[in-house]
C-alpha cells in the first residue's frame, strides 16, 4: 500500500504534470495531422525524454500516445483522412456522419469513448499486471524464446495485403538485428570492419527513417500541396453523451474487451484492434445495413477498442519486456535507458514506479476529455497550415531526432538509408511495421534460443520440458499452423 501512495506521489509534482500536459498537446498535434502516426509522435519524443526523470519520461509517452490515437479521429471525421492508421477502420463511417450533419455526435463519441476505452484498458493493466508479474518471475530464456516467436508470428498480420511481403519485411528486420557484435557469441557480424556498424543498427533512427522519412519523401515528391477540403463548423459535442452511453453500452464493453485482449498480444496493436472491433460490431449488430451510412454504433466499438489496446499493450511491455505494438516497442527502449528495465525485476525492485505509471494512465485518459474537446477546434486550424511549410519542418525534426539518439551523424545516415528503404518498400506494397518488429524482437529471439541451447546442451526438446514454456510453445505452434491449415482446407474446398 505504501508503494501505491509513493507511486501516486511521484506523479503529483508540477513538473511531471506539466510534462504530461505538454506531451499530450504534442500528441494531439501529431495525431491530428494525417500521415503522422502515434508511433512517429513517440519516436520524435524519444530524444527529448533522454533528459527527463524516469516518471516524466514514461508519463510523457503514455499521454502523448493516448492523445495521438484519439486525435487521429479528428481529421478522419472532418475530412475522411485517418490521422493515424488506428482510425482508418472507421474513418468512412465518421465522415458519413459529418455529411449527414452529425459531425458533433461523431467527434463527441470519439472523445468520450476513447477516454473510457483507455480507462478500461488501464483497469485491466492494474488488476492483471501484478498477477502476471508473479508468473513472469519464473520466465527463463526458454519461455522468452516462445514469446519472441509468438510476437514475430503476430507481426506478420500487422500489414494488410500479401502475407509473403509481410514476411520479406520481417526477415529484413531480423537481418538488421543481426548486424554488429551484440549477439550471444560476441562475434562481429556484417560489420565490414566499421566501428559504427560494430555497434549495430539502432532501431530508433531506423524507425524514424522507415515510418517518418519515407512518408516525407512521398509527400515532397508530390509537391506537398495543400488539401482542398471544406471545414464543417462544430456544434456542441457534449450533446447526447448520456444517451449514447445508455444505448450502446454492450458495444462499448465489447470494444473495450477486444481492444485490451488484442493489445496484450505482442505484435498486435491499436490499428488491428480497431479493424477487428469494427468488423465484429457489424457482424453482431441488429442493424448491419445501417453501417457505412453514418451510424455511430461501429464508431463507438472501434474507437473504444483502439484506445483500450493502447493500455493493454503495456501489460506484456511492463511484465515481459516485449512490445505489444510499435509504440510500446519504443517505450521499452526508453524504460531501459531510464534504468526501469521492464520485466519481473521491475515489479520486485521498483513497485512504486509501476504505480506511478498506472497513475499516469488514469490522469492521461481523464485529461483526454477536456483536451480532446479543445483539440477539435485546434485540429481544424492545423489542417489549414500550409503543407509545403509543415513537411520540411517535420524532416528537420527527424534529422535532429536521429542525431540525438546517439549524438552522432551515424544516426542521420541510418535514418536516410532506412528512409529510402521504407519508401521503396511501401512503393511495392511491402509493409514496414514487420521490419521494425523484426529489428526489436530479433535480438531477443536469437539470444533466448542460443542461451537456451547452451543451458540444455543442445537438446531442442528442452523447449517443452518446463510447464509454461511447453504451454507457450503449443500456443505458438497453433498460431503458426492454423492459418496454413485453414488455407489448405479452403483450397481443397475450392478444388472440389
Amino acid at each position: 500500500m505504501n508503494a501505491v501512495i509513493a507511486g501516486i506521489e511521484m506523479v503529483l509534482h508540477w513538473h511531471v504534470l506539466a510534462t504530461i500536459f505538454v506531451a499530450a498537446a504534442f500528441g494531439l498535434l501529431v495525431g491530428a495531422i494525417p500521415g503522422l502516426t502515434a508511433t512517429m509522435a513517440i519516436a520524435l519524443l524519444v530524444p527529448v525524454t533522454f533528459f527527463m526523470d524516469p516518471i516524466s519520461a514514461v508519463g510523457a509517452m503514455i499521454s502523448c500516445s493516448a492523445m495521438a490515437i484519439f486525435a487521429g479521429d479528428i481529421p478522419a471525421t472532418l475530412m475522411r483522412m485517418p490521422g493515424t492508421p488506428a482510425s482508418a477502420a472507421y474513418s468512412e463511417e465518421c465522415y458519413a456522419m459529418t455529411r449527414k450533419g452529425e459531425a458533433e455526435v461523431a467527434l463527441g463519441a470519439n472523445v468520450l469513448f476513447s477516454a473510457l476505452g483507455g480507462l478500461f484498458g488501464t483497469a485491466i493493466l492494474i488488476v492483471s499486471a501484478p498477477v502476471l508479474a508473479e508468473v513472469a518471475l519464473g520466465f527463463s530464456s526458454f519461455e522468452y524464446f516462445w514469446l519472441a516467436l509468438l510476437g514475430l508470428t503476430c507481426a506478420i498480420f500487422i500489414g494488410s495485403g500479401s502475407p509473403v511481403k509481410g514476411l520479406v519485411s520481417l526477415f529484413l528486420g531480423l537481418f538488421v538485428a543481426q548486424i554488429g557484435i551484440d549477439n550471444p557469441a560476441g562475434t562481429p557480424r556484417f560489420t565490414f570492419g566499421n566501428t559504427n556498424l560494430l555497434g549495430g543498427i539502432d532501431f530508433i533512427p531506423a524507425m524514424i527513417g522507415l515510418f517518418a522519412m519515407s512518408e516525407v519523401i512521398r509527400t515532397m515528391a508530390s509537391g506537398a500541396r495543400d488539401w482542398s477540403v471544406r471545414q464543417t463548423a462544430l456544434g456542441n459535442p457534449l450533446k447526447g453523451w448520456g444517451r449514447l452511453m445508455v444505448k450502446y453500452w454492450p458495444q462499448q464493453l465489447r470494444g473495450n474487451i477486444t481492444g485490451t485482449a488484442i493489445g496484450i498480444l505482442p505484435g498486435a496493436g491499436a490499428d488491428i484492434a480497431a479493424w477487428v472491433s469494427y468488423a465484429m460490431s457489424r457482424k453482431l449488430s441488429k442493424t448491419p445495413e445501417k453501417f457505412g451510412t453514418g451510424h455511430v454504433e461501429g464508431i463507438i466499438e472501434s474507437t473504444s477498442s483502439n484506445n483500450a489496446a493502447l493500455a493493454g499493450a503495456w501489460v506484456p511491455a511492463l511484465v515481459f519486456g516485449i512490445p505489444g505494438d510499435s509504440i510500446t516497442a519504443i517505450v521499452i527502449g526508453v524504460l531501459y535507458l531510464k534504468g526501469l528495465n521492464p520485466g519481473p525485476t521491475l515489479f520486485l525492485n521498483n513497485p512504486e514506479s509501476i504505480y506511478a505509471v498506472f497513475t499516469v494512465f488514469v490522469i492521461a485518459n481523464l485529461a483526454m476529455i477536456p483536451l480532446g474537446l479543445a483539440a477539435l477546434k485546434a485540429g481544424t486550424a492545423l489542417l489549414r497550415f500550409p503543407r509545403n511549410i509543415l513537411i520540411p519542418l517535420i524532416l528537420m525534426f527527424c534529422i535532429v531526432g536521429a542525431y540525438a539518439v546517439n549524438n552522432s551523424a551515424y544516426g542521420v545516415v541510418l535514418m536516410v538509408v532506412f528512409g529510402v528503404l521504407g519508401f521503396l518498400m511501401e512503393e511495392h506494397d511491402i509493409p514496414v511495421a514487420p521490419c521494425v518488429l523484426g529489428i526489436v524482437l530479433g535480438k531477443m529471439l536469437e539470444e533466448s534460443f542460443v542461451t537456451s541451447m547452451i543451458k540444455s546442451d543442445g537438446n531442442l526438446l528442452a523447449f517443452f520440458e518446463r510447464p509454461i514454456s511447453a504451454g507457450l510453445g503449443v500456443v505458438t505452434l497453433l498460431v503458426l499452423i492454423l492459418p496454413v491449415w485453414s488455407a489448405i482446407r479452403a483450397r481443397r474446398a475450392a478444388a472440389t
Partner: protein
C-alpha cells in the same frame, strides 16, 4: 526563377553578415580553459552504473570548472563505439570520456586496436570486485561446497552475468583456473547485463552469477540471492560478512570492473593538470563519497600517472588470463 535567385542572394548575404559578426565579436586571444561547454562521452547506456558515475562526476566538474559538462552516451558494440569516440575526439579538453575495464580486454579479443595507451589518463574513480552469487535456497554454505559440486559434475552448472567474453565471464574463468579447475567445466550463458543474468538465476536457468555486489544488491536485500565470496584483496564495506576469495578458497585471484576519466591522447599539459586537480577534488568531495556508499560502489582513486600504471598492469594481467582460458584471439 529571378525571385528564387534574389532570395538565394539574400540568404547568402545574411549568412555572410552573421559570419563577419561572429569573427569580429570572437575574442582575439583564447580565454582560459574552459571557456565553453565540455562534453563527457560514456560508452555505455543511460541508467547503468558507468552512466551514473559519469553523471555525478560531470556535475561535480561543472561546479569546479564553471562551464556546463554535458554527458553524452555513445553506446553499442560492447563499448567499442564509445571508447573509439573518446580516442578520436580533438584533444582540446572540450571532449573527455569515461573508460571502463573493457578497454584492457577488447584489444586482446581483436575487436579494436585501442588500449589504455590510446588516451591521456586523468583519474581512476571507482573499482567494483566480482562476487560469486547463487540462489538463496541453493544448498551451499561456502564457496568450497559449490566448487566441490562443480568438480563432481563438470558441465552441469551454468553461469551468467554478462555477454560472451565479458568481464564477469573472465572473472569466473580466472577463478576456476586459479583453483586448478577447467574453466570450461562451467559453461557460460551470455546475458544482456547482470540484471538479465540474475533474473535467469531466479528463474532457474543458470546456477551461478558472477557479477559485482552493487549489481546483485537488490536481490540479495530481497533475500532471493546470496553471495559466497568476492574476488578482491579485502572485504566489501557494503557487505562485510562476505569472505574474500582468498579466505574462502585460498585463491589469490582478484578481478573487478573499474572506471576512470580520460581525455584523447595528446592533451595539453596545462589542461590535463587542471582536469586532474578538478577530478581529485571531485573524488574527495562529500557528494561523490555519499554517492559511492549510497549505490554500494567501491571507491578507488589514482591520479593521471597512477591511472596509466594501473591500466597497464590491469591490461597485462587480464591479457594473461584471457590467453590462458582461451578468450583471447
Amino acid at each position: 526563377m529571378r525571385r528564387l535567385l534574389l532570395a538565394g542572394l539574400a540568404l547568402a548575404a545574411s549568412t555572410f553578415a552573421t559570419f563577419t559578426a561572429a569573427t569580429l565579436s570572437a575574442p582575439a586571444a583564447m580565454a582560459a580553459y574552459p571557456d565553453r561547454p565540455v562534453t563527457l562521452i560514456v560508452p555505455w547506456g543511460a541508467g547503468g552504473g558507468t552512466d551514473a558515475v559519469a553523471r555525478i562526476v560531470a556535475s561535480l566538474l561543472e561546479k569546479d570548472l564553471g562551464q556546463p559538462v554535458a554527458v553524452v552516451n555513445r553506446t553499442g558494440g560492447q563499448g567499442v563505439v564509445g571508447h573509439q569516440a573518446i580516442a578520436d575526439a580533438t584533444p582540446d579538453g572540450y571532449t573527455i570520456g569515461i573508460v571502463t575495464v573493457e578497454i584492457a580486454m577488447m584489444h586482446w579479443q581483436g575487436l579494436t586496436q585501442l588500449s589504455g595507451a590510446s588516451y591521456t589518463p586523468l583519474a581512476l574513480m571507482n573499482d567494483d570486485p566480482a562476487g560469486v552469487q547463487v540462489r538463496a535456497d541453493a544448498p551451499y554454505k561456502t564457496l568450497d561446497d559449490l566448487l566441490a559440486d562443480i568438480k563432481a559434475n563438470p558441465g552441469r552448472f551454468k553461469a551468467s552475468g554478462t555477454g560472451q567474453g565479458g568481464i564477469w565471464h573472465l572473472a569466473l574463468a580466472g577463478m576456476l583456473s586459479s583453483v586448478k579447475m577447467d574453466p570450461k567445466s562451467v559453461p557460460w550463458v551470455p546475458s544482456n547485463g547482470a540484471a538479465a543474468g540474475l533474473q535467469d538465476l531466479m528463474a532457474g536457468g543458470v546456477q551461478v552469477v558472477t557479477c559485482s555486489l552493487p549489481e546483485a544488491r537488490s536481490l540479495i536485500d530481497a533475500g532471493r540471492v546470496k553471495s559466497l565470496a568476492i574476488m578482491s584483496t579485502e572485504r566489501s564495506k557494503l557487505m562485510p560478512a562476505i569472505p574474500t576469495l582468498k579466505e574462502a578458497a585460498g585463491s589469490p585471484w582478484t578481478i573487478g570492473a573499474w572506471r576512470g576519466i580520460v581525455g584523447p591522447k595528446g592533451l595539453d599539459k596545462a589542461i590535463s593538470d587542471k582536469l586532474q586537480a578538478a577530478l581529485r577534488k571531485a573524488y574527495d568531495s562529500k557528494e561523490y563519497q555519499d554517492f559511492l556508499s549510497g549505490r554500494g560502489f567501491g571507491g578507488r582513486y589514482a591520479d593521471g600517472p597512477g591511472f596509466a600504471a594501473f591500466m597497464a598492469q590491469s591490461d597485462a594481467s587480464l591479457g594473461a588470463v584471457m590467453k590462458e582460458v582461451g578468450l583471447a584471439k
